[in-house]
Amino acid sequence: MSVVTLTINDELVSAQEGETLLSVLHERGIDMPTLCHLDGLSERGGCRLCMVELEGSARLQAACVTQVQEGMIVHTHSERLVKYRKMILELLFSERNHVCAVCVMNGNCELQWEAAKIGMDHVRYDYLNPDLSMDASHDRFVLDHNRCILCTRCVRVCDEIEGAHVWDVMGRGVNSRVIIDLNQPWGTSQSCTSCGKCVQVCPTGALSAKGATVAEMEKQHNFLRWILDGREKNVWSYGNGK
């Protein structure tokens, strides 16, 4: 695989051809905010927090779905980008009912971390305060639409890692919802294996363990790397090379 050279924040950087810009930025230790991206899952480019400026292009590009190119000149933290990122986070907070103080993920929430990191101290937009339900019909897990940011990590992990494809998205725009099967109560799902991967990858309190109380929920992503490494080394197949 050939090597490309690009400029990131006025510094010359070499990268493998075909790599995403986000992975290069992470390798370089540049702190990029992300919400829909999760190592081990396919990229979606949905949250737009990892947007970067590319010289010669008027449009901002999401680093997670942009491949590195020879001669690319990239800016990751310009004033304009920080302004937009803050705006995106404020819009996420105003769209549903994110009440950190009483949330099961308070203190462990990726949305909360990103907002704190960027210095979002208030929301300039009117809260939509949508009337959204909770689905607590599953024996072990709870879905709370009030806290969902539609990152679709649950959809991707269920499809790509567990192979069950229980989750999907219905509706459009601000009315989109993650759904189980064909919009059935979680507890009645025939396809759900109750593996809990969706709960573990969810960045907010939208998916949580039943019975968890304020700030009690912590999520572990490392199972993903473990499964994927195993898959790569073929340790899950019969005979596994012995």
Binding site: A136, D139, K210, G211, T213, V214
Partner: protein
Amino acid sequence: MTKTITIDPVTRIEGHAKITIHLDDNGQVEDARFHVTEFRGFEKFCEGRSFWEMPGITARICGICPVSHLMASSKAGDAILGVNIPPTAAKLRRLMNWAQLVQSHALSFFHLSGPDLLLGMDSDPTKRNVMGLIDKFPDVARNGIRLRRFGQKVIEMLGGRSVHPAWTVAGGVREPLSDENRSKIRRMLPEALDITGLALDMLRDATDSFRDEEAMYGNFPSLYMGLVTPEGGLEHYDGLLRVVDSDGNVLEKGLAPARYREILGEAVEPWSYLKFPYYRPAAVREARGGRATEHYIAGMYRVGPLARLNVCDFAGTPRADAELREFRRLAPRGRPVANSFHYHYARLIEILYALERIAETVEDPSITEKRIRAHAEVNNMVGVGVSEAPRGTLFHEYHVNGDGILQKVNLIIATGQNNLAMNRTVKQIAQYHINDGKVSEGILNRIEHGIRLYDPCLSCSTHAVGQMPMVVEVYNAAGALVERVQRD
């Protein structure tokens, strides 16, 4: 000409309120109303959430006594799960509840009422506050802060933080008490007990100079309600509901708290967001008498420290029992203490009691055990949790569906239950101090103090939104505003 006097804002209470005084044609007080102008709506917006979250959500009703809501809410959760929580969890909850009683009562006595008691009801209003107290009686102010700190510290040691600790949950508590924290509580206790002793002496001295106030601050017959142990002792966390009347007759000896609806009704008035709970058996009798419009007022009962000491047979700890005997002497033999001025005294006795109980509990060998949380599914569709908050009996009632999602929530808050009594107190003080329509600054202070006796927590009791400073307005017989007094 009839006129109405309004006091707005009522200060140094938790939350904000307004008082109107209605005068008749002769300038005498006809009626006085304590309006609570905040509205919050917790009962409604909690619908659709899960009962697991309720301790965390309802604790936000108040920053002074979040622990009380945590207790009642967790107990309602225990009932929905249908579990007996591990004994150590119950002891730890009691420990936190007593600590809460200490910090809240210390706040009421030293910071909120202290300025009136020590600086005088007629002293300069700009100095009659906690800063004025620090200026003139720095030791007293410091003691108040230290005593409150004790309670807050114990809460923090158990729950990880002093305000809104998400520690008690349906099924028990989240973290055990460490040996280290247990030793710390032990070390902090002697100072707290000393301060309480000093406060009792201080109140006895101050009471001598408030004989007038003592006689007419909420001195009227009413019912009293509170929790007692099955043996009839003072109780704050569990136990049975007891109601006594002003002659000392026991109307309810020990009703299971979950059956509270059989004896309590909730009335509403268009001029206040605070509900008017009443004792139903007494109110019904009045209705049969033919005065349907006032039928619930006869069901007026008081809750809180004064009521708790009136309904219990004994406290159960040596020093508190000694003080309780003194307290009983304030009323004719066998009768409850009817005078709301003695809420102050009752509050200090309860601090003493709570400290003695904390001292006992930290010596319990099982208090640091690690089995503290029961796990279960939804087993009951309705859960009622009742405990004694610093200001009185607190009820949380949740109705859930099979998944634990709330369908209906009913909260009866301590301050609400004193609503009828607070209105009556304001009227009594106004009648004593207003003659021929003449109003003085002193009377406004006294009415405010009359309210402050109940240490009302209005943000709690209305589950309320927004803020409003207190105003007193005087209306004439024609309903026209003739005087408006406002202090910013």
